[in-house]
Amino acid sequence: MADTKTGIGASVRRKEDLRFITGKGNYTDDINLKDQTVGYFLRSPHAHAKIKSINTAKARKMDGVVGIFTGEDVAKDKLGGLICGWMIHSKDGSPMKAGPHPVLALDKVRFVGDQVALVVAETKEQARAAAQAIVVSYDVLPHVVDVAKAMKSKANVHDVAPDNRVFNWSLGNEADTNAAFAKAAHVTSMDIVNNRLIPNAMEPRAAIGSYDTGTESYTLYTTSQNPHVARLVISAFHGLAPEHKLRVIAPDVGGGFGSKIFIYGEEVACVWASKFIGGRPIKWTGERSESFLCDAHGRDHVTKAELAMDANGKITGMRVHTKAAMGAYLSTFSAAVPTYLYGTLLSGQYNIPNIYVEVDAIYTNTAPVDAYRGAGRPEATYVVERLVETAARELKMDPAEFRRKNFVTSFPHQTPVIMMYDAGDYGAALDKALDMSDYKNFASRKAESAKNGKLRGVGFSAYIEACGIAPSAAVGSLGAGVGLWESAEVRVNPIGTVEILTGSHSHGQGHETTFAQLVSERLGVDINNVLIVHGDTDKVQMGMGTYGSRSGAVGMTAISKALDKIEAKAKKIAAAVMESSVNDVEFKDGTFTIKGTDKKMGFGEVALASYLGHKFNTSEIELGLKESAFHDPSNFVFPAGVHICEVEVDVDTGLTKIASYTAVDDFGNLINPMIVEGQVQGGVAQGIGQALLEGAVYDEDSGQLLTGSFMDYNMPRAANMPHIENFQLGFTCTPCPSNPLGMKGCGEAGAIAAPPAVINAITHALGVRDIAMPATPLTVWTAMQSMKIAAE
């Protein structure tokens, strides 16, 4: 073991914090380049319209205007459109119907906010004024914003999909599942809506694109979770420039939650247009209004779900039909979200012999929908855990015991929907959560709440998710356009300090600390002597970025493999320098020793020796100490846990308070428990936000986004969260067998688990079967009123 204060398992305080708490962070908008101009996007005011003409003549003559670019300019230059990187086939074998997605709108706009023109000027005020002087003549077309209505709407978002259906995908055995339902002793059936969410990372998206006329190469600073994927897409699909002529830098990024995975038109337009203004950099910094209108949204599913049980309360089948909104265009990973990240998780923690799921992915005249924290898995968990809780109530069984009765208990476990669960102990997490939440005394707390005019309820969520995304061959066979491995390079400097180059990207997750802890553990190096380098395609050769809770299980495993090579080579050098056999070299706590002797060398001494080459034969052992590795996971990893939420509902106002929240999670081995807990707390807050506060609303008549600012879209604030003493976290541990560190992923669990826990608690408190998310005071109050009416 290394110094336990900085090695694996220690709650090391974060190395990256100093710059953030002192105002020295370096976010994209903090960067200003020489001769920089400002970009501003003119956006569509209509949900759906033909562009008849765009007149920029007056705007071009205005003060400070450097250039104005429209979809025609993009088309003329043959810059490719935005892509969806995952091909899904319908159950009839036909490929998904992907409509065109130009960088700037061409001929048509398809949602309010669609970018119509890029105006470049010396100042933002000038750019904005010029944008307002552009005259766009529109022919307004019928639109549709409601996913449930889109297939029968007059509106046709893309010609290629006349009924607005992108694909009709299925998974599982329909005949066997139908047979299970025919034999069922009890069937629980529900209509389930998963509300549309707007990610709202606190840093709005931003980009600075520039073209160097001397080297004929481009540089793009952008708020990206995966700069290498951005470079790959902009090179290979947009065709802007080959990869060696395009550098993409994602500096400090202020949160992502999925929304900064995708390649958007704005950054492509900025970097492309720079060439046409003599290479001057173009900086675009999104306003929050633009984040609301144009960042890819999350969720927006309408589902019919059924659960079949036998006479003993054993689940025998599940049948699910989901309509999933895609928005106006297929965003980068959108097609994968309601399919392979959703249908594959419908078995939950349960032994369900027959599952059949069908998904209609549907265009609507709204912002695109893509991965948002959890991506498909929160939607799946919501379906499973609402069904299971409701089934238990209908069977008059304790919801905890109904779950336990149906838990998967032996591993590996093959579900009927692709996934092979490798390890877990769901009963242990349930026991721990029941104990920590003091479930057995719930009745007395309920009575206490009742005295204060409050209805108390308790809700469970036993979630599982698949992350550590993902085995490349497997995802390739399912339609992914990329492999989902990760890379790492370990550079040991001559004085023994270490630089780690990783393809993962940190935008709040604390990689600069946790990755350094791994190095400290393995090499015995102080974490302050470890530098984590990420987010620059000129420094790190290639990588797949950070999303899907993959940076630990996949990214750190790549580092671990490179460290294996470093250790092996360092041992050879140590053996040569100490004139011993490599088989006798032992390495522990940063020191190389020779078995049975008092010979020893520190890691730093070996590092120096490796670069001096004085004391070993450099024709036998190559100079230097630098190794790299790629890691392709052999399976997904399967974090799982049990969350228990207690709510108090105010009878007079319908206000729901989270009375207590208990999260017990199995993430396998933890590198830094403090950071892991922070991830759970943040994820749960987003889940509570979805359940109680947040919901994107488009006006059906106008197609306008009604929840377009922080004054209309209810973000969780400090007072919405449970008190410190009422928010408990616990862990169980079944190490992941598919990576050497035994890690699973922790980034999305909270957002996946929390919504059903909260809604199950509210429905329990009210004694109703369902309540819509977000369960606002109005929604809850209305439900209570209608119950009173029904009772009268």
């Binding site: 002192t22 105002g23 950071i675 922070g678 922080f710 400090a718």
Partner: protein, 154 residues
């Protein structure tokens, strides 16, 4: 354009601004001090909170010219020499930040909350008074802990 003069983090500064220039734009654009952030366009998120004459204020909600001769402190002005302000240290110690974008505003608001409510400020007051600062990463749990700890050490 007119010239505005003020004290920023103890140093005299000045610059040419338009009448409509917001304090946050003066700080970020004219002075190149980028610790103060802009996270919204409706004065809701609090990423831009600074202290003007000792009081917390959203710098997107006041004109630069309205701060003529004012004493302005940003997050860059909190640490004295190499020593972090107690609230900065508490945010690090209690993992009160993840992506760091809301952090400057959070810290500036937190200091103001403690100044007005005292070292023993309650959890309820902290949560209520942080309503003008939005964080998307932490769920506020560790921010509240940090403010309590920072308060004790201020």
């Amino acid at each position: 354009m007119s010239v505005v003069k003020m004290k920023l983090n103890g140093k005299a500064v000045n610059g040419d601004v338009e009448a409509r220039t917001l304090l946050v734009d003066f700080i970020r654009q004219n002075l190149g001090m980028t610790g103060t952030h802009v996270g919204c366009d409706t004065s809701q998120c609090g990423a831009c909170v600074v202290h003007v004459n000792g009081k917390a204020i959203k710098s997107c909600t006041i004109l630069a010219v309205a701060c003529e001769s004012a004493d302005v402190t940003t997050v860059e002005g909190l640490a004295k020499g190499g020593d972090l302000h107690a609230m900065q240290a508490a945010f690090k110690e209690h993992h009160g930040l993840q992506c760091g974008f809301c952090t400057p505003g959070m810290i500036m608001s937190a200091i103001d909350i403690v100044k007005r409510n005292g070292k023993n400020v309650s959890e309820d007051v902290i949560r209520r008074e942080l309503s003008g600062n939005i964080c998307r990463c932490t769920g506020y749990h560790n921010i509240v802990k940090a403010v309590q700890a920072g308060a004790a050490n201020m």
